[in-house]
Symmetry: C2
Subunit: 329 residues, 2 copies
């Protein structure tokens, strides 16, 4: 049974070919190094260092052993990283950005699933428009964001998570409420209450009008979905919103909808994070839970664990989506 403490001191001494330097690296004094090396050589019945002049140099045996010891301390470093990762996973912080509008109804489920597995990780939830959230990633305020894929950015990786339908909402008294469907031309004649700049919904709606060579008549714009709903209810204008966000209002008939001439507008809900940027273990864990992490980003996990996690994550994701649908209906 090797004395790995001795080996560590030997390793530093061999690396530097200098006991004093080794002592500095190890935060001990030079006589401590001398003593430990001596004791180690004694235990092995071998000589690893020879003094020539006022310098020490490795013997053949010492060199041979040094080659071996290098690897063990490289490996030790891996273990230290693994421990650090586990610690962060136990008591780290997940800085998560979302859009209030539509993420709200499945965000709680995602978070509670995550907290279930990593009860010690604190979660910091940040809200804003899709564009704001992309900026929050770039400025390192958040590490991961669940947002609409509104605008691409070369440094941000978007991974599609699910799709949300955007529907037209009008006041129940509005003529459109009686019609099965309306044309884009019809819509262009109406006053529109638009989501704020940077919103994914707004982007899709602008594209809708543009595809017909039209521009929407924007009455006002806001980021507050509640405000939009209220204005539409009062007949101040029409708007477009994620279907899930107005499920109750439609059921209770406080808002009405109409199809847009056979078109279906979908919003891609994506998980976004910075490309080529180190992800904290909590962020990795979150993405792994969603099965959205590239394998190359998982280097420090044990391979066995990783495979199991990937398979489990795939299952979890499917179940999660089912659960969300069930719980929100």
């Amino acid at each position: 049974m090797l004395n790995l403490n001795h080996l560590r001191i030997f390793y530093h001494a061999a690396k530097n070919q200098n006991f004093t330097a080794a002592a500095k690296e190890l935060f001990i004094t030079q006589p401590a190094v001398s003593a430990q090396i001596k004791s180690f050589e004694n235990d092995c019945s071998l000589t690893f260092f020879k003094k020539r002049g006022r310098k020490v140099h490795l013997t053949d045996e010492g060199y041979n052993l040094y080659e071996y010891s290098k690897k063990i301390f490289e490996y030790e470093h891996l273990i230290e990283n693994a421990i650090e990762e586990m610690r962060e996973l136990k008591c780290g912080l997940l800085r998560l950005g979302t859009t209030k509008a539509y993420a709200r109804y499945f965000m709680p489920f995602m978070i509670s699933t995550f907290r279930d597995k990593y009860p010690e990780i604190k979660i910091q939830l940040d809200e804003g428009s899709s564009l704001e959230m992309i900026h929050s990633l770039l400025s390192f305020r958040n590490e991961v964001a669940v947002i609409a894929r509104a605008e691409d950015h070369p440094d941000v990786k978007f991974i599609p998570f699910t799709q949300e339908e955007i529907i037209l909402i009008v006041s129940p008294n509005h003529p459109f409420a009686k019609r099965g469907s309306v044309s884009v031309q019809d819509l262009a004649k109406e006053s529109i209450i638009m989501k704020e700049l940077g919103s994914g919904t707004r982007k899709r709606i602008n594209e809708l009008f543009a595809s017909c060579g039209l521009t929407p008549d924007v009455l006002m714009e806001t980021g507050n979905a509640e405000f939009i709903k209220q204005l539409v209810q009062r007949g101040e204008g029409i708007s477009f919103i994620v279907k899930e966000a107005v499920r109750t209002e439609l059921k209770e008939k406080t808002l009405a909808t109409a199809k847009i001439e056979g078109r279906r507008i979908d919003l891609d809900v994506s998980v976004a994070y910075l490309k080529n940027q180190h992800l904290s273990p909590p962020a990795k864990a979150f993405l792994t839970m969603l099965d959205m992490l590239e394998p190359k980003d998982l280097t420090l996990k044990g391979i066995g664990t990783l495979m199991a996690q990937m398979l489990a994550a795939r299952k979890r994701k499917a179940e999660m989506m089912k659960d969300i649908k069930r719980k929100t209906k």
Copy 2:
């Protein structure tokens, strides 16, 4: 900087999922294990074991760490072996067998070259006929033998080292001494002093006669080369012997020789050792010096060292042979 002592105790505890068993393996008491694990967990701010009933089991973190720690202690084992090897190389024993007859004149050189490189290794030199030396390998009395390849054995590996010429020797007064060459038929009419059974020389001479359908007229047999020389000198009979062994006698004309009708009889000098048997580091070193070790037998040497050694050995061998020729002439 990880406490590898803690890690070792953790490793044994994890392997056994039992602190008491770990303590036994480590030759310490159970409270020592408990205390060290506790201190380790504290240092890492993680929990590696949980108690369930009266048993302990690994947490996820503990399992993860265990997977890592396995490798480090596997590797430690390699280092221990390397140290053991180096130690044996420093103070081991080389048990070497030889044939007195012809090996004598280059054996001293081989040994002094070896002692030069491994001054601490004791050398035990054993002498006997080729066959006796093969038996000495099989009975583990010797590890390596420098002998004539007289008889093969399935468990013994022979590696040709050099060749020695066997010549006819006769008394200077013998009629053959005046003739340039003699036929095998001529030889068959003479009384022959034969080397003992198991000798490589004897084997080649028997083959020589057999190839002509003849049998030698053996006056007597002995393993003692000096005795053979004296008997031949006195004209009691003729004999065959390795040329190098009678160099002086031929020069001083106390013995004469004659060619055997255009034939040249060579004896293969080989280095022999047991196949599929672990070789001690001194034996390996000896064979490496002669560049005669199969690469697969060198597993524990560092690769860099090995390559250098192989190249150096090749050079050394060539020089050694040159040197031997020079010194014995």
